[in-house]
């Protein structure tokens, strides 16, 4: 499970933040989508929201090539489906078309689409909050 770096939220709203930690843990512990796929999505989303994420489930070198995932040989077609989905959700989820959704359904199944959608949303906002918390709480 990748770390949740939101210490000020745990300090000032411990009960609410503990519930977030439980969601975070459940994302990583479910058995529908593997942790390395989730990690690629978390890292790419973190890069795009300016969070400077640290790699925990994949080699650190992946961070350097991750922005070039569409054509870099280090990524499998299955990785690319997840990363394309993660980026599309971040940019404009309403523009997700049936073809791209079908790719996700083919590679990860219906359960995988649901887990990936929820997880990517969580990775996005948690990392956005990390950036904001660093300014607000020092």
């Amino acid at each position: 499970m990748s770390a949740l770096r939101l210490d000020p939220l745990f300090a000032y709203r411990p009960g609410y933040a503990a519930a977030l930690a439980d969601v975070w843990a459940a994302v990583w512990e479910q058995d529908v989508v593997d942790a390395s796929t989730l990690e690629l999505c978390r890292l790419r989303i973190g890069q795009l929201v300016g969070a400077q994420p640290h790699a925990e489930h994949v080699p650190a070198e992946v961070l350097d090539v991750l922005p070039r995932w569409p054509d870099h040989p280090g990524f499998t077609p299955r990785d690319r489906v997840a990363l394309a989905f993660a980026e599309q959700l971040l940019f404009d989820v309403s523009a997700l078309d049936d073809e791209q959704a079908a790719d996700v359904l083919r590679e990860y199944g219906e359960a995988g689409l649901l887990v990936l959608a929820y997880a990517c949303g969580l990775f996005e906002t948690a990392q956005r909050a990390e950036v904001a918390a660093a300014v607000l709480f020092g």
Binding site: A19, D92, L114, C120, R128, V135, F137
Partner: protein, 151 residues
């Protein structure tokens, strides 16, 4: 609801423990340390930025009971909100569009209206809203048209 659902499954049957944790996260959010009208404005701002019809059209009855008025939503764009509401909405917009642009001056303005405990709560709210909206839209379960939904 949409007739274009991409799956008949729900998160509850796809990943029961995750769904249970999600539900618990939602339940522990209220009551909080920030008044419900301010939180509703932050939630609606998040919904408007999320490309999710359900999220931007949902209204909490409890917030209406506490004084939330639809005119406040119109003021999200014209700058006629109170300084407290404006600060909270600006925080939401910055976090959800470009959190790196949040400045120490923004932080100082926020502290004129909110305690550390309240700011932490607003950030937790902003973390909480979006995953559900992604789930709704990506699965094809969003509203087909903009229509007000009371909850």
């Amino acid at each position: 609801m949409s007739a274009d659902a991409r799956t008949s499954r729900t998160l509850a049957d796809a990943a029961p423990a995750l769904d249970a944790a999600k539900t618990a996260f939602e339940r522990v959010a209220y009551p909080g340390r920030v008044d419900l009208v301010t939180r509703e404005l932050v939630r609606i701002t998040s919904g408007r930025l999320s490309h999710c019809r359900l999220c931007r059209n949902l209204r909490l009855r409890a917030a209406i009971d506490r004084g939330f008025d639809e005119a406040l939503v119109e003021h999200l764009e014209d700058g006629e909100l109170t300084d407290r509401h404006s600060a909270a909405v600006r925080l939401a917009r910055l976090v959800l569009t470009d959190p790196a642009s949040l400045t120490a001056d923004d932080g100082a303005t926020l502290r004129e209206h909110f305690s550390d405990e309240q700011l932490a709560e607003l950030l937790l709210d902003l973390i909480r809203y979006r995953p559900g909206s992604r789930l709704t839209v990506a699965s094809g379960a969003d509203l087909a048209t903009d229509e007000r939904v009371l909850m």
